[in-house]
Amino acid sequence: MTEERNQSDARADALVSQAYRDLADERTPEHLDRTILKAAAKEARPRYSRFIAWTRPMAWAATVMLSVALVLEVTNSPAPGVVSFDETIGTFEVQSPEADAKDDGPVESIEESMTPASELTKKQSNDMRQKAAEFKIKNEDILQQAEELARVQDGYNDQPSPAVSADAEQEFAAGRSLASAAAFSAPVADCDEDAVATPQTWLECIVALEDAGRDDAAREQRASLAEAFPDFDPR
C-alpha cells in the first residue's frame, strides 16, 4: 500500500513526463565515454590483488613445510644430549662397558618411543647430567685408589714398578677405561701375583698392608684370602 502510494506520489504527471521524454534526448558525448571507460579500465587493473590472493595459501604451505621439516629434523638426527654426553666422556677419556651399555639404552629407547621433541630433549639432558655426575664420582674414586696403590707399592714392595706405576697414573689421569681402572682395585693390585700364590705369602702381604695403615685394603685382602682359601686359618 505504502509502496503504491510512493509510486503514485513519485510519478510525475503523465503529460509532463511525456513532454520531458520528448525533450530529454541528449546523449553523453563520445569523448566522455571513452575517457571514463579508459580511466575505469586503468583503475581496475589488479595492483596487488594477485599477490594478496596467493599470500594466505603460501603462508599456510610454508608453515606446514617448516613444521614437517622441524619434526623430521628432531626425530631423525642424533639426540643432542647424547652427543654432548659423548663429548663429556671424551674430556674424561674414561669409557666403561657399563657406561656404553647405559649410553645405548636411552638412545634406543628414544628412537623407539618417538616422544615429542621437547620431552626427548629434557629426558636426554637429565640422563646426561646424571651420568656425568656418576662418572665424576667414579673417576675420583679411581684416582684415589690409584694414589693409595702407589703409596702401598712405594712402601711395601722392594721392587716397585715405576713404569707400571707411571702407566697406571697415566691411565687414571687419562681415564681411558673403567675395566683397566677396575684392575687396580682388584686383590692382585694390592698384593701381586707372587704374594697371592700361597696363603702364607698373601697373609704376609696383608700384614704389610696393615702395617702401612691401609686397613681397608687389608680387610679386602683378608676377605679375598678367605674366599680363595677357605680352609686356611690366617691367625
Binding site: 513519485a10 510525475a12 520531458y20 553523453t28 575505469a40 583503475e43 587493473r45
Partner: protein, 211 residues
Amino acid sequence: MAANVQAIGDGQLALSHAAELAYARPMDNVPEDSALMLRYRDGDVVAFEVLYRRHNDAVFRYLLRLCQHRDTAEDVFQDVWGKIVKARDSYRPTAKFSTFLYRVAHNCFIDHIRRNKRHTQIAAVEPDSQPHPADLPEIETERSLARRRLEAALKELPEEQRDVFLLSEEAGLSLDQIASVTDSNRETAKSRLRYAVNKLRAAIDEPVRTS
C-alpha cells in the same frame, strides 16, 4: 556470431552489447547494477562498461539540466564517474545502485556549486536551447512549442524542485530515495515534486489554452 559481427562493425557500442549478453547468459537474467559493481570491484572492466552504458545518458541529462551548462555538466559528469570508479573497493550493495549513483551526482553538483559560481552564469547561448532548424517558428508544431516551453519552465524552476523532478524522471527514484539523495525528508521531496510538476504542467498547457 551476430554479436561478433556487430562488434566488428559498430565498435564500442556493439562490444558493450555483446558484453551485456555475455553477462546475462549465465544468470538467465540481466545482472543487477549492484552485481555489476561488485564484479567491477573484483577487476571486471566489462561489468563496469555495462553498468556505465545503462546510466550514462540519464546521469548526463540530470547534470545537464541541473547545471544548465554543457561544459559544467561534462566536468561534473566526469567527476561523478571518477568517484564511482574510486569507490569500487569500498562499495557495499546496501542500497539500490541508482540511489548511490545519483547521490554521488547530487553531491558532486553541490560541491561544484560551492567551488565556483560558474553554474549561475547560465550561458547566453546554450547549445541545447538553440532552436533546431527544423523547429523554426513557421514549421514549429504545437508539440515542439510545448517542448520549448517545458524547457524554459524547467530552467526557471528553483534548484531544489528541478533536482527532485529530474531525480524522479531521469533516475526513476521513489520519494524516499529522492529524500535520501537530497538529504531531506519524504514530505519535503513530495512537496517539491508537486510544485515542480504543477509549474511544468502549467507551462505545457499554456499554448494550448492560448490557441
